[in-house]
């Protein structure tokens, strides 16, 4: 058995995966966002303590202190955490797969208010408290 590759972008966008597909895509985007952010954060922390790199470290820090970036990274972290917990629970207890769609609805019910509060706080601070 082999896996077919080379699905065109047009075919990919027409794929009717609905809720589960959306969480799959958002989980990947969130995960990549976190990997890039944490890697930059570690490198910035390292450079800040080096005589040759402190200005570069400060510049990198300024990127993720910007409120727009914070809205993005909070989405990545909160969604990836909640969706990851759903995936872990369903994968480790496969009998629950039957309730996957209900679990995804529950996930959005948890995610939206938590992320909403985070965005509200970030925007409020950005507008001067």
């Amino acid at each position: 058995m082999a896996l077919k590759r080379d699905v065109s972008l047009k075919d990919a966008l027409r794929y009717q995966g609905k809720g589960p597909m959306l969480t799959y895509i958002l989980h990947r985007i969130g995960g990549l966002g976190i990997v890039i952010f944490v890697s930059l954060h570690v490198l910035a922390g390292f450079m800040l303590n080096q005589p040759w790199g402190s200005s570069a470290g400060i510049f990198i820090d300024s990127i993720y202190e910007y409120w727009v970036f914070q809205i993005f990274i909070f989405f990545c972290v909160i969604f990836h955490m909640i969706n990851g917990l759903r995936i872990t629970i369903l994968d480790l207890w496969p009998k629950l797969i039957e309730y996957q769609r209900e679990a995804i609805w529950l996930e959005w019910v948890v995610f939206l208010p938590v992320y909403g509060i985070a965005v509200y706080t970030i925007v409020q601070n950005a507008l001067g408290g």
Binding site: R5, D6, G45, F46, I87
Partner: protein, 139 residues
């Protein structure tokens, strides 16, 4: 048309990392919970805002409390918290870089490049882990 072999059954790198990804997710929840509990014991309720507490929970590292009202940071930079921060960053790093490998694996057609990327992400994880632990222990 590009074809590649379906994953093999049994215990192999892919299966171990599949399991690791799930178990490390649970471990990160536990480590975050320990971070929050420890912070509350050390006085976070009076001295930190909720975002600062979350920041500490994601990585218990002393620079994460420098901009708070914590008066004495000695308790926040003990060997225990340095080890906890290091453990979290190494476990999360393996989880994250393997996730990156999974994504790349889906878009890279050449088997040779996929093999290269597997070793490259392991090397990247090792280098970033050393840098992160160095930062934690020298902050």
């Amino acid at each position: 048309m590009n074809l590649r072999s379906a994953p093999q059954r049994g215990v192999n790198f892919d299966y171990i990392m599949w399991l690791y990804t799930r178990l490390s997710a649970l471990a990160m929840y536990l480590l975050g919970f320990i971070g929050i509990t420890g912070a509350l014991i050390m006085g976070a309720r009076q001295q930190m805002s909720l975002p600062d507490l979350m920041r500490w929970a994601f990585t218990p590292e002393v620079t994460h409390v420098l901009n708070t009202n914590v008066a004495n940071i000695d308790a926040w930079k003990t060997l225990f918290w340095q080890l906890m921060g290091s453990l979290l960053v190494v476990v999360a790093g393996a989880h994250g870089y393997h996730g990156l490998l999974n994504v790349l694996d889906d878009y890279v057609k050449s088997a040779g490049w996929r093999e290269f990327l597997r070793y490259f992400t392991i090397a990247l994880w090792l280098v970033m882990s050393v840098i992160a632990v160095y930062v934690i222990f020298t902050s």
